[in-house]
Amino acid sequence: MDDMMSQFLEVFFEESFEGLDVMETALLELDSGDADLETINTIFRAAHSIKGGSATFGLGEVSEFTHLVETLLDEMRDGSRPVTAEAVNLLLQSVDCLREMLNASRDGGEPDRQRIEQLGRELHMLRDGDGGDGAGIPREEGETTAGEGEGCGWRIQFRPHANLFQTGNDPVRILRELADLGEMEVTADLSALPEFALMDPESSYCAWQITLRGPASREQIGEIFAWVEDDCDLGIEPLAAEVDEPEAAGVDQEGVEAEKSPPAIESPTDTEPAGSGTTPAAKPATRRARAGGEASSIRVGIDKVDDIINLVGELVITQSMLGQVGDRLEEGEEADSLLEKLFAGLAQLERNTRELQESVMRIRMLPISFVFNRFPRMVHDLSNKLGKQVELILSGDKTELDKTVMEKIGDPLVHLVRNAIDHGIEMPEERERAGKSPVGRVELNAYHKGGNIIIEISDDGKGLDAGKLLAKAWEKGLLPEGETLPDEKAYELIFHPGFSTAEEVSDVSGRGVGMDVVRKNINSLGGAVEIESQPGKGTRLTIRLPLTLSILDGQLVRVGEQTYVLPLTAIIESLEIDRRNVKAISGQMELYRLRDEFIPIIRLYELFGIEPDNTRLDEGLLVIVEGDGQHLGLLVDDLMAQQQVVIKSLEVNFKKVEGFSGATILGDGTVALILDISGLIKLARARAASMPGEAA
């Protein structure tokens, strides 16, 4: 059962996290004022399925907490409660809290109980607040019966003694009667269940945790249990009090019973060090879920799968067609007449293969909304915190990109958006003085261009101040005092390590380890980032990323007998070397003067220790590449084809080799190594340091 359970549990977690995302998005819509019934319904539905799921899996804490949230939402839904900013904020916090609780149950950690209690109390206060009495008697729409804790419902611990059946009682009947009293949720606790062989069919082993919502009174419930009172351990508490102090209440009511009763799935969390939970198998199951992490599965639209099935069907047809050609050749049919068929078949095969490849790649593609979705919340929190008014505009959020790229681009984007709000957008008054709307705009836009995805982050804030950047660069010694740069070059300074322009360091941004890391992350994905800015008008950052990490547009280059692949994105230009433009520095390093820039030359054959066609600079070609923000000239013997290559890891069976990002297999089946520009720079530096004076 545990294997099955853990499998379903994973699905439950996945769906719950999705549900929470949905809630968050919808709550933010509520926040901006255009609350319609459908939005509230969406939130309610998501909360409801999380509650149901968590109760099924015995995550009592989660289901109780969600229940509170759900009750609030229910009231908003039927119009008996206005949608206030306060409530929405509280609900947003509850979403965070639930996320944390779910994370904790999945990874076997401890949720922040204090926070849960605190939020639970706030939720209660909010609900009771407009009930007026505030004494733990929540107002319920419609009828209200007398007695403590009514209205909201009851939490019932029902643990029959083993001899229950012998007294002629049937727990099912009791549960059924309870269900008549209102909306009911039952969690069965099977922890007392013995092994099958040891089971006595006439004994009762199950226990139930029942959450009953509705206007039922304690008497009504008592009546149902009247016949079995002496044959079971029974705990009946009003729901509200229970959630206020979940742990204390549980222990008070049930005493020792409570220790046995935590449902199987929670036991690993509770008994982590001892590891001797009631069901030993539960522990490894939870562990496995943790190891799998969030990257363990991916949801694929059925249309994408159908696409692939169709393509495979076509592939099979092509194969049989080619097979026929082969057979007829074997039978001695005239080759000439078959040649045409063969070529047609091969062309079809090529098309099938390409389409199949694209379709398979598309499985890994997700809309960028997965990343974008977190921004409304972030902008909401951040602008509140900074006292700025910010409007976030998302466009192109259906643009798809590879899951791996997506996971890696999230953090850099967060950083850039934070920067835009913190540094870019001015305070409302300042904006008004500058004749702009007090509400700043931050725009996120994504679209495909060629084989790349472009993500733009723009704001209409104050823009970058080139003068200030230069002053800072002088002060930090990044630039010789007094030397100026054209504006575009000055903007690039923000990508320099240890460069932060925030006048005072806030906890939002400005720790000085920002933009350089952002650029490095983006570069490591094979992408690039550019910045444009206009003083007073705003700043726009453009990120260019490859759609996928497993295929690369490559330029094949030849050095001696070896073929290497250069990522096309890294290449700026290729040229024949004009000897007059080559300058040597202290006999060690060669520089090539290209327009107004001196570019260091790396002789690949020398770096790799291979025999080249020739060692004369003007016989080879210089490929100007960019990496780590600097330019580099690679001396190669020849440029060959440009083609897409599938990236294969060297690390799987070998190890990371400096200077190479991986390998690929060429059309003839041989392996070619893929050059990594920043690795080459390191390699060349190390080489220059270890053997001074030899490189001339």
Partner: protein, 176 residues
């Protein structure tokens, strides 16, 4: 004829090659110069002819390079060079033994270049002798033992350890 034969106990014994005293291990032996080495046959994935490699710059000389093994990039190690023996010309008999190496907590596929594959030996466990502390051209750390087959000495390699050492180490582990 068509009905499946019930499997008898003595048949099973035949299959496992056990006569009466069980424990035997199978080794694949190969030649390096005049010496005959052997590796646990269960480590061997396949044997293929030498067909050139793509060299990896700036690696130890015994790492000949990488090959494409049905879409997987597999490094190839020259065992002669790894053991410090004189290099030899690769000829038609030169083969690459593709091995599954466990080291540093994961399994890797690697090829080793040897002069020729010699034989498969079925060795009783008790005939394995501990390696000498000196004398072989191989660091005794990488030896599992010695065995005598028809008056010839067989050097049994601890291939996992050998191919997880030095340049081939996984991350920080397995060095030495």
């Amino acid at each position: 004829m068509n009905a499946p034969q019930p499997i008898h106990h003595d048949m099973l014994l035949e299959f496992t090659g056990g006569e009466d005293d069980g424990a035997r291990e199978q080794y694949l032996s190969f030649l390096l110069g005049d010496e005959e080495y052997a590796v646990d046959i269960l480590k061997v994935q396949e044997i293929k002819g030498w067909s050139g490699v793509t060299p990896i710059p700036n690696c130890a000389d015994y790492v000949k390079g990488v090959i494409n093994l049905r879409g997987t990039i597999v490094p190839v190690v020259d065992l002669r060079l790894r053991f410090g023996l004189p290099a030899s010309e690769y000829g038609p008999l030169t083969v690459v033994i593709v091995l599954r190496i466990v080291g540093g907590g994961r399994e890797r596929i690697m090829g080793v270049v040897v002069d020729a594959v010699a034989d498969v030996h079925n060795l009783p466990v008790e005939e394995l002798k501990p390696p000498p502390t000196f004398g072989a051209s191989v660091d005794t750390e990488y030896l599992r033992g010695l065995a005598t087959v028809e008056e010839r000495m067989l050097i049994l390699l601890d291939i996992d350890r050998l191919l997880s050492s030095g340049e081939l180490a996984v991350g920080d582990e397995g060095g030495g």
